[in-house]
Amino acid sequence: MTELLFSKDHEWVRLEGDVATIGITDHAQNALGDVVFVDLPEMGRVVTAGEAIAVVESVKAASDVYAPVTGRIVEVNSALVDDPALINTEPTGGGWFFKIELDGALPEDLLDADAYTAFVDTLG
């Protein structure tokens, strides 16, 4: 399994070949609380890094999920529709959101695990 990279918007990215699997981090799911609904992007949609393309709703609030990379949506996790709690229980496993076929290279501002942990610590 390849190493995860992280965005400062609290998404994780796992790159396999030219396809990136993306979800939200454990820190993000913990801050959100119990997830009750997720609005996933359409298949085939072309997305730009930094664009809000999904929504995750907890009991308390709604939050945007951003595309951490530029490319095309090639798969979405339909299991989340019936079981959005997977985002809480398996944020970096069964709780993945979507897969993006990369257009170009990974953005350089993605963080490795240590840098992301340090970033989260700065948020208090």
Binding site: G33, D34, V36, F37, D39, V55, E57, S58, V59, K60, A61, A62, P84
Partner: protein, 361 residues
Amino acid sequence: MTDSEVLLNTPLDALHRELGGRMVPFAGYSMPVQYPAGIMAEHLHCRAQAALFDVSHMGQAELVGEGAAAALEKLTPADVQALKPGRQRYGLLLNAAGGIVDDFMVANLGDRLFLVVNASRKHIDLPLIESVLPSGVTLKPLPDRALIALQGPGVAALVPTQLTFMGIGEIEIAGIKVLASRSGYTGEDGLEISVPADKAEALARALLALPGVRPAGLGARDSLRLEAGLCLYGNDLDETTSPVEAALTWSMGKRRRMEWNFVGADVVRDHLDNGVKRLRVGIRPEGRQPARGHTVIQKEGAAIGEITSGGFGPSVGAPVAMGYVAREAAGDGTALDLIVRDKALPAKVAPMPFQPHRYAR
């Protein structure tokens, strides 16, 4: 409220932190929105067993003196004078335009009235009440008392009392003298317990030590009250909304609706006689997507209202909401569209409460 302003702490602040409460600013206070269990678990636990909430931020006061009830009735259409000793009821404070200044609880303690008002409104309510008092009646704020809500079907067995629903009296819990009322804001049976601030932590610890009692935060309190169809001041009620529009006509006493001698009575009477343009209703969105406060409500493409409270109901297992719609769209089953992120989410007007009340009547 900005971060630079100092937040007030309740007498249970240290306990919240010890229990892992996630503290947030609310009405000028630092309050726990949830504990490590999370809003969903805290909500469901309240409906299954018993949950302890710190509501010490709410305003408590006493009204003392001959004619206290009549004086309060200048500001509220609730029948305060008919309230028997040991009984409590829900009421609304109104302004001259018939708008709701606050919703509150009033109890007859025999020699005085006991009031509980919203934290966000106490700085407005208390001077307003003070302004209508005749000589001989005094308003005494009780800033040195905490308020703890113990809610859920398990409470009656854990803290047995002689009180029935909306009964109030002095009782002793764990050796501490408290003023308890059999009421709450969750739709469940339970107690709201007023206790001197210096005894509050000891009381809370004693209650949390009872089998099945767990702490719950403001998040669960909000989802519980929404499922129970209960209003939150500032969301569902405000100074531009009348009791009739808010579907709270039931809180107005029959005698009061013959005498019409409260502030704003002419507007309220007009709303009752001639009907209102908008009404508060329950709303059930289809599917699982919640619609939050301020969501625009459409019917056949035209905007006809707005959601005032909305979220996911953990016990209902589906999104629930309340809001105001044009009167002609207020009938149960009316098909609506909720405009969530520029998309129409189908919904229907639905009866409240969404979760049946289980009060000990």
